[in-house]
Amino acid sequence: MDTFVQQLINGLNVGAIYALIALGYTMVYGILRLINFAHGDVYMVGAFAGFYIALYAGLAVAGPSMLSLTVVLLGAMIIAAVVGMIIERFAYRPVRKYSRMTTLIMAIGVSLLIENIFVAQIGATPRAFPDFLGSQSQPPYHLFGNAAISKAQIVIFLVSIALMLLLQWIVFKTKVGTAMRAVSFNLNSAKLMGINTDAIISLTFAIGSALAAAGGVLTAQYNPNIDPLMGILTGLKAFVAAVLGGIGNIPGAVLGGLLIGAAETFVVGYGQHIGIASTYRDAVAFAILILVLLLRPSGLLGSTVQEKV
């Protein structure tokens, strides 16, 4: 039992990160019907932004501190938001009027460009993200039996929940959120209603990128190994999470993220009892993707909206 609970905690912990990234995929898709394949790389950029802030502000050597983590987290979110807006402004906006295929290929190009710029500039060598929570020496908090939860896991849960609630509030309770929903409903009508759609799209990219950056910094508190290619697989899995939950649907992205994280961890933990080796962890997410597309293409919470002709 305690092992099961532990695996659940581990899984939800991984899932919370997927959820944060999946939100960015889903928001951009909701507004532009674009799968932003560069989003996983924005997550990586966020982690590196945090790493370099910590390095140059001298926080990396200052030792564990919650304040440092907050500074690094906010700094990384701001930098990633700017990067997201730049990508939108210079890569997606110019081709927005062309077919969706063009934008999709552009997204793949941007993704490869970011990865390779990083590899060329700093090399693919993994970097060690500073440990702000003292995880390296601090024992975890015991729940019952063997089950335990570490400080890093608690912080990941709390911060992701707070960010998701904040997003929900922005989308449903603010004027900007109303505008975002209007753009998502119909871009041209929204424009006719006097909404500055370019600004709203830009803002959507900024918010999505900031959430991904938060995911990058948080995950680095648990897995301190960051490298320029870290966003590829994680980004793809977060994309699957968004599809699983119903792409374009915000609560769906969160649910999808948590489910993928849990599914992955359970395959590692219990897979061998039903003949699946722990090496299949990465295959699981994509098997789920195929199943979803076959059985329920709109995802768990997605609604099948009729395309307006």
Partner: protein, 432 residues
């Protein structure tokens, strides 16, 4: 007008220099008696295991500088051509092809990771260019062909060392294993550790795998925790191991982690920090070794690269010294003669112990067990292969070693090995 002339001049110079280099490159290969000795080095300089490639390269360069400062090998200077394979097997094969076919190197040094050596070795073998791997420990590497050698011990021994240490020194009876599924190195160690540990009466209570680049190991570690092992064997590379150590502590697991030489990197400490305290690894040498030869090497390396040499640097250094010694004995760089000379290497006093190449082109030597404590690898014990007598090894590698002689006249490659012994092995070696 002026600019055009300048441009033309530049282009001409460029072509001229290319042409010269070409002629020089192929020229040295044909006439093996003169000209500089060209050695190819390939390794992971920018990939996930870049610390391995960089350290080894540093070690090779240090050795080359010492050799050249002392007048080269038989008056011929040594030049190293460095290639980066980014830690990917297919790129390793490509760069070695380039080294042997295009650069016409006389010998190749590399790689660290066994998967990369295995991919690249056939290229050296086809071209009949001797290749010495400084630190690939998977047994299959040298079985690629009779031109492939190594100067480190092999995994059956390394796995055996940790199994013995766990069983005898740590009194462990239950072990769990967490290994890298895609790595020949990791799978090899897992196999040999399991075999030895079971033979010593131990039990493997849980076994889980991961793949390089994974970031979350909590699922595997939770399963391992519920099996309640005395020790956890993690024969992986530092990038993942640092994170694994971290997550082990976050799950409240108290059993020590045991590893191999793949852990040896300054980066390990940045990733794992205090979480690594109390873990053990098997390795090729210890910087604490009081032998003067080792201490001189450590001091020289520190002066030049501002850090302590890890085992890979020491092996890189040894591989170059063994090569230089073989060239001297072969009387030149003729590939067949050089191959035979490397195969005859016997009791060569290296930094990582006495190096004797056996009939399988492997090196048999002792391993050290190091304890991880507060950012340092602290010497714990030395474990010898079956049939090797401890004191003999120590004395063979002691003050007589070439590296130990004063800087004014460093011996090019240490004292020549006893010719009597050297004559015994070539037959069996070249028949393979």
């Amino acid at each position: 007008m002026k600019r055009t002339i300048l441009a033309l001049l530049l282009i001409t110079t460029l072509f001229a220099s290319f042409a010269c280099e070409r002629r020089n490159g192929s020229g040295t290969n044909v006439s093996d008696g003169s000209g500089e000795i060209v050695v190819g080095y390939y390794g992971d300089l920018t990939g996930r295991t870049a610390s391995f490639g960089q350290s080894t390269k540093n070690g090779v360069e240090l050795a080359v500088d010492e050799i050249n400062k002392a007048g080269g090998v038989m008056g011929r200077k040594v030049r190293v051509i460095v290639e980066d394979d980014q830690g990917e097997p297919n790129k390793a094969a490509t760069v070695v092809s380039k080294l042997v076919n295009q650069d016409k190197v006389h010998a190749v040094l590399g790689e660290v990771a066994s998967s990369n050596s295995l991919a690249a070795a056939p290229k050296a073998q086809e071209a009949r260019v001797p290749m010495i791997s400084p630190s690939s420990t998977n047994p299959n590497v040298t079985q690629v062909g009779d031109y492939i050698f190594r100067v480190c011990f092999i995994d059956p021994f390394q796995g055996d060392v940790m199994a013995k240490f766990a069983s005898k020194n740590l009194k462990a009876t239950k072990a769990a294993i967490l290994y890298d599924f895609n790595s020949d190195y990791s799978r090899g160690l897992r196999e040999f550790f399991t075999r030895s540990f079971k033979a010593l009466g131990g039990q493997i209570v849980e076994e889980k795998s991961y793949t390089q680049g994974d970031r979350d190991f909590s699922g595997q570690l939770t399963a391992i925790r519920s099996a309640n092992p005395d020790v956890i064997y993690v024969p992986g590379y530092y990038g993942e191991v640092g994170v694994i150590a971290n997550q082990t502590k976050q799950l409240g697991i108290k059993a020590p982690l045991l590893g191999g030489d793949g852990w040896d990197s300054p980066q390990l400490w940045q990733l794992g920090g205090a979480a690594l305290n109390g873990d053990y690894i098997s390795n090729h040498y210890s910087v604490d070794d009081p032998l003067p030869a080792v201490q001189k090497f450590v001091a020289d390396y520190k002066q030049r690269f501002q850090m302590l040499p890890d085992a890979l640097a020491a092996l890189g250094y040894d591989s170059m010294k063994v090569l230089a010694d073989a060239i001297k004995r072969a009387g030149g760089t003729d590939s067949a003669k050089l191959r035979d000379a490397i195969a005859q290497t016997s009791n060569f006093p290296g930094i990582t112990g006495s190096i004797t190449i056996d009939k399988d082109r492997n090196t048999v030597k002792s391993a050290v067990v190091l304890k991880l404590q507060d950012g340092k690898f602290v010497y714990d014990t030395t474990i010898y292969p079956e049939g090797m007598t401890p004191p003999a090894t120590t004395s063979a590698a002691s003050p007589a070693a070439g590296a130990a002689s004063p800087a004014s006249s460093p011996a090019t490659a240490g004292p020549p090995p006893s010719p009597a012994k050297a004559g015994a092995s070539p037959g069996s070696g070249s028949n393979r």
